[in-house]
Amino acid sequence: MLISSSAGGDEYLEHDEAAASLGVPIDESVPPLVCLGLSGAVSQLTHLRTGIRTWASGAGMSVDDTADLVLATYEALTNAAEHAYRSGAWTVDLVAARTPDARIVVSVRDGGRWRPPPEDPGFRGRGLSMMRSLAHELDVRADDDGTTVLMWWALPAERQP
């Protein structure tokens, strides 16, 4: 598992890794949040919220947008974890970054095969519809290797550097 949000010696590696994972260029002045290979206890997703909130706030998001991002990201993470949990194991990658055009992008990728929503359609459907409302833009990509949820927020104009 790799979790990092600090600009250390591996800064360039992190940027490259984040950019490659997101498929978009990222703003080099804001260290991306990179959490690869999350797995194991779902309770860790609760603790991860604090790290996500701190990162989003530091990346220039407003208080309200930060709250929306934390909730939407938690929904995406729990959705991905629950999605795969019943099969015994789950693994999820979370990457968040600021882009050069002053947007925040969050990517949540699970390694599981896409399956139709199981026993719990109300819960799954509600989580996805919340993500759709909370993010300014949402994109779900499913392929043979897994499912990726991409969420975007535009930063307020006065906060742009």
Binding site: G40, Q44, F123
Partner: protein, 142 residues
């Protein structure tokens, strides 16, 4: 469910202190009403306790059941689902089910899921408890 295997690893890495189960529930009985006061965070780890408490209070069929969310700092979709199920159960038992929510943290998730239309939401516990309770709304079909 196994819940604790890698929490400490992650805590060390993201630098948070770990309260695994950050929600407290208290049940108040005043007059005809029962109030469940929720404080903390309603998420995947805590929602089962809220659901259990609401189920047992609903089973006792008080005339009015209030869920006070004013002290809630995080409300995820599983909490919304629990409230929706409780509302449905309350309607079947002719229980007047009311929710207290006033801040953005709780109102925002309730609004974007359409729950502010489904639930009777009050800005304070006193207003929820004092609202006329003998005339419940017509039920919406599901």
């Amino acid at each position: 469910m196994e819940e604790n295997s890698s929490v400490s690893d992650l805590n060390a890495l993201v630098g948070t202190s770990g309260d695994d189960d950050d929600m407290t529930l208290s049940v108040l009985r005043e007059g005809r009403g029962v109030t469940v006061v929720v404080k903390g965070e309603i998420d995947l780890m805590t929602v089962a306790r809220l659901s259990d408490t609401l189920s047992s209070e609903l089973a006792a069929a008080p005339p009015v059941l209030v869920v006070d969310l004013d002290g809630v700092g995080f409300l995820a979709s599983m909490g919304i689902t629990t409230l929706a199920l409780a509302e449905r159960e309350a309607a079947q038992r002719r229980i007047d089910f009311r929710v207290v929510a006033s801040g953005r943290t709780t109102l925002r998730p309730l609004q974007i899921t359409g729950m502010t239309d489904l639930l009777d939401v009050y800005p304070s516990r006193s207003e929820a408890l004092s609202a006329g309770g003998s005339c419940s709304r017509p039920q919406q079909g599901h």
